[in-house]
Amino acid sequence: MALGLHRRAGHQPRLTQRQQHERRQRRRSSLIAAASTLVVLVAVVVLVPRMPRWDRVKQSFFDVEQMQDSFPRLLDAFWLDVKIFAWTTPAIFVVALLVALARNSRSPAMFPLRALAAAYTDVMRGVPVILWIYLVGFGVPGLGLERPYNSPLLWGSVALAMTYSGYVAEVFRAGIDSVHESQRAAARSLGLSGAQTMRFVVLPQAVRRVVPPLLNDLVSLQKDVALVSLIGPIEILRQAGIDKSKFANFTPFVVAAVIFLSVTIPLTRLTDYLWHRERRRTSGSRVAA
């Protein structure tokens, strides 16, 4: 950090011996990285098409005409994924935070609540998402709800929110636990109540620390949204499946993957960035390989 500032100031163009060494090291590692990337790329681009059945694979997975044909339909269907994602995420955060707070309650009278919250996270995380989607998506409407309250979109989203709030609650809980006990002690000694301590001292620190794992869960949710298609709605993966069956070609799945990536890659990059920032903020300088 100090070295960087020094250089940016520009008062001393002559580099120290150490700086020269570091610069050489940096150049060397970028050269090695570039060379190894090139080797891998060449191997893929040159060798794969030489495989005996590459033509068939290419035709089954990378058919350009099929791509153009499927793309508008798939993009249209992807909009449904985005919508489900958009309305389940806030629900997940609210439920998860409540569950995490319940688990972190300290009053002896709250024991049943703590036990309930623990059971909730255990069951939600322990049962496959698919089962929840079937059970809630078909089961609850099957009890006799009328349209539109029996919509598979509604109950599929509820199932997703239930399972994911189990995971996210644990992330929140980890965040809350990571705040040092002295922070609570200090807050209480200043006269804050238990609730105020949580609200103004513990949670702000906890949430900031768990942003990267939270985003990680969101990336995962973004893909699991497709599971709602099991109970009827045609979203992107289902549309790709329909196209695949109709044209006996897997290209629609490749197109769907690219559409997914166009959302998940920025999201994961953002996660990485936040993670690095948090790391820089809280730990020492990086040790080279």
Binding site: Y134, R147, I231, G232, P233, S245
Partner: protein, 305 residues
């Protein structure tokens, strides 16, 4: 299973691995090796019969055996009680009929199970042929081969007897309803191309999920082939009925069911000969149809206008 294990003991340790590969639906070279091994076995039991005819020789996955696939699970009235080995149900009976025509005795028939979708995708197959109401379509012919049709049917509508569309007589009355179908089937195509409802249909992996949605009243009706419609309404969903069947027209071709083979499998010819004999010579196909599908065809017709 018993057959297979005795054979494994016969051939000896070296071949076990090869057979294991073949049993997993392995690649071409494995099954070739397998054929070679089987040939030596043939020499041992030269008089063995019931292992196919001249046409099928060398064309089946395992020499002297006919490996037939059906759905997992298989539904009535096509296969009774999910047990094709019992020969009960239309498709089970047809499969055994074809096998018999081709000279396979019952003990040389091996049943395997596949999903509907996976069987019509490109790639190696772990069966000689697969029958689970596969409609013969041009698009599918690019990746798999079909036998001649063994049954022709049309699409039908199943819904609750008290639903708003229960009395529908024409497609125009169905526009406002919500439909469901199995993914990748001709029934789904039928909904989007012929019925053209205002609401997007719901799509399911299998008819079981479609039935659950019907019971949850998330959809008004499901579209399936006529015999399946009758079975669902009579046995599987209490209170449902076959609302109607759709007539054939220029717009709607009959749904012809064919057996699915790996692309360009030479065995298709043998099966077609067998099917031809069952259709035109022994009339077995008709009698099987009468046994298993009679009472599965009379439903009110819903006009296409």
């Amino acid at each position: 299973m018993k057959q297979r294990s005795t054979r494994i003991r016969l051939i000896g340790l070296g071949a076990v691995a090869v057979l294991g590969l073949a049993a997993c639906g392995g690649d071409d070279s494995a099954s070739e090796d397998n054929v070679a091994d089987e040939a030596t076995e043939e020499a041992v039991e030269e008089t063995a019969s019931g292992t196919g005819n001249d046409c099928t020789a060398g064309k089946t996955l395992a020499e002297g055996k006919l490996t037939i696939a059906t759905g997992n699970p298989a539904y009535e009235p096509w296969v009774v009680g999910d047990a094709p080995e019992s020969k009960e149900g239309f498709e089970a009976a047809v499969a055994y009929g074809v096998a018999e025509e081709m000279g396979f005795t019952d003990e040389n028939i091996v049943w395997v199970r596949t999903g509907f979708d996976e069987a019509i995708q490109p790639g190696a197959k772990n069966f000689d042929f697969n029958l689970q109401q596969f409609s013969i379509t041009e698009e599918r012919k690019a990746t798999v081969s079909f036998s001649d049709p063994y049954y022709s049917t049309n699409q039908a509508l199943v819904g609750f007897a008290d639903s708003a569309i229960a009395g529908a007589t024409s497609v125009s009355e169905l526009k406002g309803a919500k439909f469901g179908a199995q993914a990748g089937t001709t029934s789904l195509d039928f909904i989007t191309k012929v019925i053209q409802p205002t609401a997007e249909p719901f799509v399911y992996d299998d008819n079981a999920a479609a039935k659950a949605a019907l019971e949850a009243k998330q959809i008004d009706a499901i579209v399936v082939d006529l015999p399946t419609a009758f079975y669902i309404s009579a046995v599987e969903i209490e209170g449902s009925k076959v609302i109607g069947q759709f007539p054939l027209s220029d717009q709607v071709a009959a749904d012809n069911f064919g057996m699915v083979f790996d692309l360009d499998n030479p065995l298709v010819e043998c099966v077609n000969v067998a099917l031809g004999r069952m259709r035109d010579l022994t009339y077995e196909l008709v009698s099987i149809e009468e046994t298993w599908l009679s009472g599965y065809t009379g439903a009110p017709v819903i006009s296409l206008d």
